[in-house]
Every structure is written in C-alpha cells, then in structure tokens.
Symmetry: C2
Subunit: 282 residues, 2 copies
DNA sequence: CGATCGTTTGACGGTGCTCAATCACCGTGG
DNA sequence: CCACGGTGATTGAGCACCGTCAAACGATCG
C-alpha cells in the first residue's frame, strides 16, 4: 500500500499548471474531451464554453476507490489504468485494462457508488465529468451524449472479453488470447501490433487471466519456447502473430491445424504441447 | 439446432395480437417502456405518442445473432435471456443471464454489429428501439436518455460479475457464488430469495462458471451434501442462505470461519470439504 | 551497493477435465 | 399402456495441468 495518490476526493487541489476551475481542479474545455473521443468537429466550436475538469495521476495512484461515492466519470486522455475489485481477503480481481479514449467509472451511475476501483498503471491524465452534470450536459450537447453512448458500448464489449480469456482453456492459451487482445488494441491505435510493452505486473495479468501468479511466468516461457514471442521482462515482441493467433484459438485435443509452414524453432506440437487440456466440452 | 425462432430480421411479421406498427411489428408506446424501466412518471403522459416495437419470442429462439447487423437494442419485458458468444469450434461462452428490466444488445452500437448473441430461455417479450433512433429519441425524451444510461450502467456491473464467479476458486465455490447472485436478484425483484427455478441448462451454467459440464453436477451434489441447498432437477431451494453466502466467500485453506453455529446436517469441513484449492494467491 | 520488490523456476499434491456408462425425463408412435 | 429413441443430468475412473509452497534470481531505487 505505498500509494502515492493525492487522496480520493474529486474536489481536491491538484498540483497543476493548467488553468483552475472553481473546484480547484485544472480545467479544460469540453471540446478537448470531444476531440479526444474522436467526435467529428461539428458543433465543437460552441462547446469551448463548457469547462471540464482534468486530473493527473502518478503511477500507482487510485483514481477512485471501490465503494467510494460516485462523483464523476472519467475519460482516459493519456496513460493507462486497471479497474479492479478487491475481495474481503484482499485478493484483487482485475476486470480490465483501459487506455486512451476509454471511459472509467460509468458502472457507478446506477448505484451512486463505485462497484470497482481504478488504479493508474503509469503517470496518466483523465477528464472528469460530474455525475450530476452528465444528464443535463448530455441534453445540452448532443455530441457528448453520442460520444458517451459509444464509449460505454465499447466498455461493455471489453468487459465481455474477460470471459473470452477466462473461459476454461489451458493457461498458455489464455495468455495467448490476452496478447492477441493487446496486439489488436495496439493496431487500433495505429501502433505496431508486434511490439508490446506491458504496463501491468505479472500478478495483474494473472488476476485478469484467472490463473496463478507463477503460472503466468511459466506460460510466458512456454510461448517463448514455442517461438511465438520473445519476452524480456515487460517487453514482449510477437514473432509470429498469425501462428500466435491460431494458437489462441486452440481448443482441446491436438490442434486441428499444426500450421508448421516453414520455420518452427521448436515444434509446438509435442508432449505438454499446445492444447492438452484446452477447452471445456460444449 | 432445433430453433423455432421466427428468423432474425427486425422487420419481420410476427404473430401478434397487439396493434401493428408500420414495420409489421407489434407496437406499444414509449411510455410503456419507460414504466417498465421504473421511470418516475414525470413526462410519461407526453410519450404516448412515440410508438415502440414489441417482440415476442418462444423459448430457445434467438433475438439476434452474433455478427448480425445492429438493428435495435432491446429491453426485456417478460421472460429471460442468455447472452452468448460462439467460438469457431462451436463452444458457447455464456456472458450473462438477463431478466426483466435489463438491456440487450447495447454493446453493438459502437460497432454496427452484435459482438454477442441473445437467446430466450423461455417464452419472452422485449421492447426494441432502433439504433438509428436512439440518439434522436434520447434527445427528445430526456427520461429515456436517463433510463438508458442507468440500464447500461447496470449491465456493465453485471458483466463484471462473471469475473467474480470465474476468478480462480474451487468449482463448488463458483457455483455457490452463482446461486447467491441469483438469490440476490430474486430478492431485488421482490421474490423469495430461497426458492430458485433455473431457466438455464447445466451446460449454460457450466459455461458461465468456466468449468466443465460434469463438474457442475458434482458441485450441485456437493452443495446438497453439505446441506446448503436442496436440488431437484432445475428446482433449487436454499436451505441456509447465510452459510451458503459464507461459503461463497471462502478462499483457500481451511475457511477461517467454520461457522458451525447450530445445525450442520453434514459437517462442511471435511476431506474434500469446502475450500481446498479455492483462491489464487494475491 | 544493499534492500526491497517483482519475476522465474522447481517439486509435489490435488482438483477438475476427458471419456464413458448409467439413469431420469419426455414426447412419439405402435 | 408400454416400448422406444433422444436429450439432459448424474456418477465413476484415470491422468495431468495447475495451485501451493519455496527458493533463487534479477531489477529498480534510494
């Protein structure tokens, strides 16, 4: 618990060099937020009037706590977060990893308090919109309403991806699916889909995959041994994305497509090879 | 594949005795939908003008297919659904079970097509709102906008509950958590939290829990043997909700609170008893 | 450079997955 | 009414993947 966060409250003075709003929060205009969310600049010019809070967090700081009062929802501007739920015994269940353009804390609007917490994985920035302002603001600015709906819909989809990963498959396959997910997100951002830098710890990954801490390490080693990836600490390079994707789809029994076109440093199909247990029977 | 569904299309003639809209769909008024969603009747009277499609489905019918074009989002009026994603090998991953007042298909608005399918678990009815109408309608009728945000927020929360269940715990515990979830939902609906009738098959439960078909049966038997529940086919009676809830929270090792107050038909703590493997280390 | 944390790897034991047989429950047809 | 196939649920046996415990290794920071 070496949190270096500056408290939880929304109304908090934050070290900031941008202009301040009445709340002591750095503020930008709504148009900035809409631009971030990829809104086509229709009525953007008219939205400069609306101030929007902006908040910065250091790595490891928590944006809002589980059970905390729902003060605002946030849009990630730069950096990345994990959303987690902590069990009574202290076990942290990771529900997802969020990046630029994604929305945080929306699951709180139906309850008044946050069912999950959000923690920054690196130095980050977010826009915040107070919950009480959402409805009126969305009514005033249709573009915001649209943007919000879209972002939440995307969020809903990504929450579903946990199940895809945790669906009873071998641990190696879970990790492979996770890496493919990351790779696709990278590509969606216009970045290289082969070079990944993992912002989260092995334990975070383990929680997300629903396997043990140590098993993640073993699976990384296995994937590297098969020749799918090259791993150096948190740097991951995907050597053969297509074969990795194929393996991530593997279910059980001997994978139906050995897919050994050309260079296979280590034959993936062997004892303890891909897909020994894999999938639950339908 | 003995689907008795009446095709997928939204613009389909449906056997219906209610008034028809221009689309050949039975139609009700928007105020009905808002009332279903628990909106306080502020401007309800003025919303009678807006027609809303209503659709009926038989048990086993699919409301919309995975990959299908996103035509509308739906609100469950009566009955229940499962939302699923089907892998290439035919494995059905269940993402959640939905009941009255919940929203279906919203994750499609950000993509134009449905990332998941929805199948009726029993004879059911839904209200449908075309995707293209959502934004304009929400702007015209603020109450709808609010209702929609709330419903989606709830949906987001329930998607997170999959992780709670699938988080690496013993299979018995997963089932216990699932039953507790159902029980709480029953209570929220004003029904008895002890008497459950499971609308879904064992395989559906297995998929939702992330365990094998057979393991669900074994876990049911175990829970019954511990004296937590009494099971007869799809009828489940919870005999001791508090102890069941306690067990559902169990992690690993010998559960820290034996909780043997009084009557314990079969001592839950025994070899192969509760919480042998349980939880992944934090 | 030492302390602390995160990561890797090893060995062991157990739970749950696979396979498969049996049973219970229905709707059909003889 | 009872035989009959079909679906879904239960139970059993065997084996191996992975969770636990533990120790060694590496990285990062003060």
């Amino acid at each position: 618990m070496t949190e270096s966060n500056q408290a939880t409250g929304f109304n908090r003075s934050v070290k900031e060099d941008a202009p301040r709003g009445p709340e002591g929060l750095a503020s930008s205009s709504l148009s900035d937020l809409l631009r971030l969310m990829g809104a086509d600049g229709a009525d953007l010019a008219q939205t400069d009037a609306y101030p929007v809070a902006m908040r910065r967090l250091r790595a490891g700081a928590t944006l809002f706590h589980e059970g905390g009062e729902a003060e605002a929802i946030y849009f990630v501007s730069v950096g990345s977060f994990k959303s987690i739920r902590t069990a009574e015994d202290g076990y942290e269940q990771v529900l997802g990893f969020l990046r630029r353009g994604e929305v945080l804390g929306f699951d709180a609007v139906c309850m008044g308090q946050h069912p999950t917490a959000a923690v920054a994985l690196e130095d980050s920035r977010v826009y915040g919109v107070r919950v009480q302002d959402i409805f009126t603001l969305a009514q005033r600015v249709p573009t915001l309403d649209r943007v919000l709906h879209l972002a939440v819909s995307r969020q809903l989809t990504s929450r579903g991806e946990i199940a895809d990963v945790m669906a009873a498959v071998a641990a190696d396959v879970r990790l492979a699916r996770f890496l493919v997910q990351l790779s696709e997100r990278m590509q969606a951002c216009g970045q290289s889909p082969r070079r990944l830098y993992l912002r989260m710890s092995r334990s975070d990954i383990a929680s997300y995959l629903g396997v043990a801490h140590a098993t993640v390490s073993r699976s990384f080693s296995a994937l590297a041994a098969w020749g799918y990836v090259q791993v150096s600490n948190r740097d991951v390079e995907i050597l053969d994305l297509e074969r990795l994707r194929g393996f991530s789809r593997s279910t059980r029994g001997l994978m139906d497509e050995p897919a050994r076109h050309a260079a296979a440093p280590r034959q993936p199909v062997a004892r303890n090879g891909p897909g020994s247990v894999g999938r639950i029977t339908a």
